[in-house]
């Protein structure tokens, strides 16, 4: 009797204590968020619009800004689909088959997360730059990768390739391969099985990965900066253009262009929340495990 009484008492104390702790933790977390995320985000828009809409628009309509936007969109438009195909293929292989070197592949997929983006960029310069390993060969054939658009696309792919694969691997591993086996034994071809069984099961995880991959592809600075050469109107992406404007003390323009990236971040967050909400309501597994 007395022990059960004690138990109840203990629990009361426990909840009482944890309430205060919870409150403190929430306050700290919110304050931290506000300080490091909320205020800077506000500052971006405040600075961008501080001198009025006219200047804001003018900054965005500058031809150099336009070409930066264009290049960013091109890089993302190539990198995201490429990594989509690669991510699905890699996750499929890792989750559904046993093969030699599987753990090596998993480690390799994580490489871009482990390596600093600047170093990633340098690797590409080392490989394809004028003094690089393949430099002479490329020059002979009149192919220019470094300090040109193709180099930017390449490093963007490199830096963002873990996102989709990483999102799908745990999801596909958890789902196992029984449904695919059932489909095959019912007479479906590999192609039919993929489209009718695998894809519907991973579609939310896939979308989630695409959103994150896209955000990073558009926002990447370090690696792109190394291989771009910063040629205005030619090899500048949005993040690089922002830096140039800022270094020229052109604050309004810098923040105006930066506000595009901030908007992208907000849209990404919104899309991510919608996907998460959908997944929860669908009752299927959450694509959890943020990779960064």
């Amino acid at each position: 009797m007395s022990s059960s009484h004690q138990l109840i008492n203990n629990r009361k104390i426990a909840t009482h204590e944890s309430k205060a702790v919870t409150l403190v933790l929430i306050t700290v977390a919110l304050f931290y968020l506000l300080l490091f995320l909320g205020i800077p985000l506000f500052a971006v828009f405040y600075e961008a619009l501080g001198k009025g809409w006219a200047l804001y628009w003018a900054a965005l309509q500058d031809p150099d800004a336009w070409s930066a936007i264009e290049l960013t969109l091109i890089a993302a438009a190539i990198a995201v689909p490429a990594n989509l195909v690669f991510g699905v293929a890699a996750a499929w292989a890792i989750a559904k088959f046993e093969f030699r070197g599987k753990s090596v592949l998993i480690t390799l997929i994580d490489l871009p997360f482990a390596v600093s983006p600047v170093v990633s960029g340098l690797i590409y310069v080392l490989l394809f730059g004028a003094q690089g390993w393949f430099g002479p060969w490329l020059q002979e054939h009149d192919i220019k990768l470094i300090f040109a658009v193709p180099g930017i696309v390449l490093v963007t792919i490199f830096v963002t390739f873990p996102f989709i694969a990483r999102e799908l691997i745990p999801l596909m591993q958890a789902q196992g391969k029984e449904e695919e086996e059932a489909a095959i034994s019912l007479g479906a071809s590999g192609w039919q099985t993929f489209w009718r069984v695998t894809v519907p099961n991973i579609k939310w995880g896939l979308l989630y990965g695409v959103i994150l991959c896209n955000a990073r592809a558009m926002g990447e600075f370090g690696a792109v900066s190394v291989v771009s050469g910063h040629i205005r109107g030619m090899t500048n992406t949005i993040p690089l253009h922002v830096e140039i404007l800022y270094n020229e003390y052109n604050f309004v323009a810098a923040f105006s262009v930066a506000s595009l990236l901030a908007l992208l971040a907000l849209v990404t967050l919104l899309a991510k929340s919608i996907v998460e909400f959908k997944v929860m309501n669908n009752g299927s597994r959450l694509p959890h495990g943020e990779t960064e």
Binding site: E178, A188, S189, Q192
Partner: protein, 337 residues
């Protein structure tokens, strides 16, 4: 369609999952693969279905080697241990799947597909669940949908991996009788895996008892139960008492090391000594339904023997705890130890 398995071997690395399996499944029969966990039942079933590949040996369907045919071409219905229903499809679409993925030339019209699916859902008595998703079904319902889905492509062979493994006893019993009736209606050659001896004994035409990748015995349920050919089968199917020759040479009646196997219901009791009877002391008396189970201690070290008597038999010799009795076997099987 008959299935012939010849000298089949399967290894996972150094581990031998199936060791030289030879087996004939007759056309139209319902065969049970019975054995303890990890003995290779699923492995064998998957190889028959083409979902796994053997290291050596042959599988013949109706006398034809099926090595060149993968799972897709074997026309085998497979019911998975955990159902493996397509979670994003309704029950209707699950059952229709096999019909929808057929090559264009062979594919039925939409009305025909609809008719077939509803026919199958009626067969498994779940037509009213057509619009639900798998997550909204009970275990027993999922099992039946999985079966309907497998039957949709009119397989000539049906493979079921522990079809009732995840269900509670009552539902299991219902479903296995239902499966038996269904099999009698459809006459598809069926192999089903189970580790539940009662299930195998009740449902199957023949039973294959497996142990550690080997086939121990093949026979009718009666045969396997009454005439086990190895100690393993004796112990695995039904309860059994063991009497070692060292302590009970009287019963083993064999020179050298031997063990006598006696079923609890093959032991009789009396209050006075009989020919070749052993003295024992009653330790427990339990009436369970139509039978009475006794536990009696024999010998110095108080080895416990299980005895099962019908109620009528018990009423003729009613005994109570601590009574001294004499026991003797009506039927006994001796194996060398």
């Amino acid at each position: 369609m008959s299935i012939t398995i010849q000298n089949l071997n399967k290894q996972f690395g150094n581990f031998t999952a199936l060791n030289n399996i030879n087996l004939e499944v007759n056309s139209g029969e319902l065969l049970a693969l019975l054995g303890p966990s990890g003995c290779g039942k699923t492995s064998l079933l998957r190889i028959i279905g083409g979902l796994d590949v053997q290291n050596s040996g042959k599988i013949l369907f109706h006398g034809t080697d099926v090595e060149q045919r993968d799972a897709r071409e074997r026309n085998v219905g497979f019911v998975f241990q955990h159902y493996a229903l397509f979670r994003h499809m309704t029950v209707f679409e699950n059952v229709a799947f096999g019909l929808r993925v057929k090559p264009k030339k062979e594919r039925h019209t939409e009305t025909e597909i609809k008719r077939r699916v509803h026919e199958l859902l009626q067969l498994v008595q779940l037509d009213w669940l057509a619009d639900r998703y798998p997550a909204q079904l009970s275990g027993g319902q999922r099992q039946r949908i999985a079966l309907a889905r497998a039957l949709a492509v009119e397989p000539q062979i049906l493979l079921l991996d522990e079809p009732f493994g995840a269900l509670d006893t009552k539902v299991r019993k219902e479903l296995r009788r239902w499966l038996r009736r269904l099999h009698d209606e459809l006459h598809i050659t069926s192999v089903f895996v189970t580790h539940d001896q009662e299930e195998a004994l009740e449902v199957a035409d023949r039973i294959v008892v497996m142990n550690k990748g080997n086939i121990e015995q093949v026979g009718s349920p009666d045969d396997v139960y009454a005439n086990p050919t190895s100690p393993f089968v004796y112990q695995f199917i039904g309860n059994v008492n063991l009497f070692h020759s060292r302590t009970h040479a009287l019963w083993t009646q064999q020179p050298g090391d031997a063990v006598a196997y006696v079923r609890p219901h093959d032991i009789d009791i009396s209050l006075i000594p009989q020919q070749s009877s052993l003295p024992a002391v009653v330790k427990q008396v339990r009436a369970i339904g139509s039978v009475v189970r006794l536990e009696a201690a024999i010998g110095q070290d108080g080895e416990v023997v299980e005895i099962e008597l019908s109620r009528e038999r018990f009423n003729i010799t009613p005994v109570a705890v601590n009574d001294e009795i004499f026991i003797w076997p009506r039927q006994i099987k001796v194996f060398e130890a």
